[in-house]
Each structure stands twice: as C-alpha cells, then as structure tokens.
Amino acid sequence: MTDHAAKAAAFVADEPRTHWHDQALWFVRLKRDRQAASIPEWEALRTAAASIKAHTLSRLADYLEEFERNAQANGIKVHWARDGAEHNEIVYRILSERGATRLVKSKSMLTEECHLNPYLEARGIEVTDSDLGERIVQLRHEPPSHIVLPAIHLKKEDIGDLFHEKLGTEAGASDPKYLTEAARRHLRERFMAAEVGLTGVNFAIAETGGVVVCTNEGNADMGTGLPPVHIACMGVEKIIPRLEDLGVFTRLLARSATGQPVTTYTSHFHGPVRGGEMHVVIVDNGRSAILGNEVFRRSLSCIRCGACMNTCPVFRRSGGYSYGYTVPGPIGSILAPLREPEKYGTLPFASSLCGSCSDVCPVKIDLHHELYEFRQELVRKKVVPWSKRFGMAVLGFILARPWLYRLAGKLARWIVPRLPRSLTYARYNAWGRQRELPAMPRESFRDLIRKESA
C-alpha cells in the first residue's frame, strides 16, 4: 500500500530542496501560460481536443482496426497485448528471434508501466534509455519522478556525482552543458551499437496507419534511424482518427508540457527504414476496463503532457515518488487507484481539489471532479482507513443537526483551551502537526451576529 502522506513527509523533510522543486515546476507552468496566451483560439483548441478524444473513445475498436489495416499496408507488423506480461513477451520475442541483445529506447511511459526493462535485462538484453532524464534515473536505478521531466527531483550536483561515477566525468563538475555533452558521447556509442530501437507513441493515426513520436533531443530519431528494427509500443488510447487531428494535438502538446511552441522533432513513422522492419505493439493492460467506467473513462483522453503535475500544489511539494506509481500527479491519482484501489487508495486524497489541474489540462479532463468522485467511491468501498471514515461519520451526524452543532461548538470553546497541549496536539490530530490551532473565541459567530443585530 502506497501512503502518499508518509512518502511526502520524507520528501518535504528537506525544506530548501522542496522549495526548489516547487519553483522548478512552477517555472515550467509559467512557460506554459505564456505559450497558451500566444494562441487566441487556445480554449477552442482544448475543446476540439477533448471532443476528438471523446469521439475516438466511443469508436476505439473501429479505429484500431482501421489503424491495423493501414499500418499493415505500410509494411508495419502489428501485435496485440492484453497485459504488460504479453507486451514484454512480444518485445522480447522480436529481439530474440533476431539474435539482438542491445536495445536503445526513447521515452515510453507504457514500457515503464509494463516494467519492460527489468524483464529484458533478466534475459540478457542490454537496455539503454536514451532520453537524458531517463538515462539519468536509469543509471541511478530509479523510475522517472515525472512523465515529461524524469529527473526533475535531482539537482545538477547529484547528476555530476552520478556521471563522475558512471561516465567518468570530472569529480565535482556539475555544469549542465558539460554533463549533457558527456551523456551525448556516451549515448552516441549506445545508438551506434544498438540492434533494435524502441519508442513510445504520442499519436497513432487510424487513417494513415502510422505513428507520431515527439521529442526535443532527437533520441527517438537516432534510435529509429540507425538500427534496422523499430518497435513502437502504444496503449490502445493513443489512436486518433485522422491526420488533420494532429493539427490540434501538436499545437497543444508541447505548449502544455514544457511551454514550447512545438517539440523540436515531430516524427511521423509510416514504415520501416530501408531494408529494415517496423513493429507496433498495441497494449490494453486494463484500459478496456477503464473505458467501461462511466465516471472515469475520460482519464483515457490523457496525452501525457504533465501539465497537471507542474501546476499541482501537492505534486510540486511532494515529488513524483510520493505517488508510488508510473504516472504521478493528479492524472496518476486517478489512473493508479482505477487499477488497484487498495494499493493506491490514498492518492485521490493527495489533492487540495483546487482545480488548477482541470484548468490546464489540454484535453479538458475534469481531474479535480474525478478525484473528488474517487474519494467517495473509496469511502463506499471502505478502502479509506477506519479512523477517517469514523471521523467523517461523526462529523456528518453533527452537521446534520443544528442543535447538536451549536452544543458541540459551545463545548469545544469551553473544553479545548483547558486541555493539556499533549492531548490537543496528540498524534491523532494530523492538522496540528504543522500548525497551531487558532485561539478559541469566547462566543460563536452566531452569537456575535445576534448581538450585532439586537
């Protein structure tokens, strides 16, 4: 069981670092705002994106079949995987049938979700994540802490130490330019040696049977341009109906993700390199079940831009690892408990319900409403701890009875100031851990008003 509050407590223990993390993400959020404001039709774009996704979800099977037909006509081999295990088997089979042992990957949250790397490594495959941030966390044997900025939890000194140990850079060197250059040389060797390149998929186009991958570094382009074999892995929800839909999504994705007008590379793959082969693995892994969930199916519209994380006051101050799931932040707090409510039941509570995530979401997922809904569902399922449910029940009982509420207030005003501190600030009072209770007023607001109007 992931306890968000407990894990966040470990993160916020380092106060300057928490502040720095908060500011680093807020900086990205501000860049996003500037880009959004540069497009007068921004809101119309979000609406269009939301309705393209809603339409696609209502005909997902048809569009996947259309995609498959067209991809096959392009010479792409299409595979289907019910779950993560089958996905991993397919990827491994493609590698092993070609005697390949060196795989270079560009960013794919799906393969993180399926735990592909450890699966392949256990079978003797050398897996290299080639996105700089992903390579950094891979060398640290950590998962990404953010879906777009995988190493946002690390400072340049941490990376300098890591590269000194793993890549032989100078001790104490922490200049980002110098470290990036070292990573470039190291990864260029891996690109040159790779026998197979694997990428994620940002968008798969039903109409043309191709996939689109967006990066700034060009790592997906290196990883697919050099090795003869390209494997692209996608969840079923990555499909869009038409080429023209990309006009909407390419305008939204990078602006929402990093505050750039577009990613440096927006690459459209409609077949293998000359003399090579291309595979697309289409993965369900629980998505069809989410589609059947009326309340939460909109979470399948997510294009993984990370904007909800950058804006979330809880994410910014608790870090990606506090969520304990591949996709953290507001959207992860819906996706994770949809899979395993018992394990991830604290995540929908890791939100102030301020609604900022819904405001920035480029596909207009009503994230904070869904989080609120999820809390209620978890209470109904009794996944929420007994203490919380009991407290809520008592409070509900009191608030439903005005006379009892008035009595409780009167008692509290009299008793609380007389109680010893050890009791009012005891462990059970989570609210008292970081803050002082306000001084108890002598009379209630109700009494005050009555006096005033008399």
Partner: protein, 197 residues
C-alpha cells in the same frame, strides 16, 4: 480467442455511446507570416537567414563557421554548398556518423512555431541524416509558409510507406535542472535559409 479479438471485443463492449466527431477550430493567421516564422524559429534556438536567391545563399553559407569548418558535408539541395559525402553511396546509416553538416530542403514552414516539414523522400536513402549530423542547414522557399498547424496538415502528404517530420530548431534538452542545453543527441545548430525575392 486471440489477444487482438479479446481486446477489440472488450473495447466494443465497454464503449460509451457514439460521441460526434468535432469541428476543427480556426487557427490563428498572421499578417506577416515570415516575420512570425523568423521570430518563432529564433526562439527555439535556430538561426534565421533571409536570402533573395541561391547564389546569395551560397555566399552566406561561405560565411557560416559550421559550414566552413565542416569536413564531411551532405547536401540534398542541388546547387547549395559543396558536398563531399554522397548519401546514395552509403548502404549502412552508421556510416553517417561523423558527418559535420547536412543541408536539407524543407517543403514548407509553419509561422506559429517555426517548424519545417521535411518529407522522407527529401532525405534521400538515409533518413537518419537530419539527426546524426553535427550541424544542420535547412533551405525553405519564402513563398512556402503557412500560419498554423491546421494549415500545415492540409499540406502534408504522407508517404506510404515512408517517413516525414517537422523540425523546429536544433536538438535540445533541459533535463538537468531545467537548464536549456543545445545539442542533445542531434545537431548542435540549425540554420535556416529562407530563399526568395
């Protein structure tokens, strides 16, 4: 039942009622698309140079240090630069390692974001050339500009089977403390010559 059918059946079973296909929004148009393109392309780390014709382009190129210092040069734009690596003679894309500069034609540019569409057929026999080169030069005709990505996708002709991409500036990363570093895996610079009267 195959995994394919299991998945498709589950998706059909769980599909919500048909939601209508949306209408595309009108994209922003710019009174001076070239000015906007130049600003956008520069903002993403690219260098924008305006030339009236190919003769001037070659004169400008001779002033570009990335070009004058380059030893191995690929040019896919006829009459531009003096190439000494012929892509057609290369069978294995790995042989492209060490190309210092590639000159590549762009089909059209997009003013709103400085992106340039490059169809795979323009990349010759080795599509990796645009990313493996140390430096990149793009050549785009001045009358080939659209304002936004909606107009761009009206122009894009998907080659099937094939490849094509938008490039917007040099390769970059900000994965270390959000500090922007130009030259992640691909070209360390991207110079665009816009040609036309």
């Amino acid at each position: 039942m195959s995994s394919r059918d299991t998945i498709l059946n589950a998706l059909r079973r769980n599909a919500p009622p048909l939601s209508p296909a949306p209408r595309m929004p009108e994209g922003i148009t710019y009174p001076d698309p070239e000015k906007q393109f130049a600003a956008a392309f520069t903002s993403v780390g690219g260098e924008f140079v305006r030339v009236p014709d190919y003769a001037t382009l070659n004169v400008e190129l001779d002033k570009l240090p990335y070009y004058t210092n380059a030893h191995r040069i690929v040019s896919l734009v006829e009459g531009v630069g003096t190439p000494n690596v012929a892509l057609d003679s290369i069978q294995d894309p790995h042989a492209l390692e060490g190309v210092d500069l590639a000159i590549i034609p762009g089909e059209f540019g997009v003013a709103e974001n400085g992106a340039v569409w490059i169809p795979g057929s323009a990349l010759g026999s080795q599509r990796a050339v645009y990313v493996i080169s140390e430096h990149l030069v793009l050549v785009v005709a001045a009358d080939r500009l659209v304002s936004n990505m909606h107009q761009a996708y009206e122009r894009v002709k998907i080659e099937r089977p094939g490849f094509g991409l938008f490039i917007s500036g040099p390769s970059k990363t900000a994965d270390i403390e959000q500090a922007l570093v130009i030259g992640a895996h691909g070209p360390r610079s991207c110079t665009l010559y816009m040609v036309g009267p």
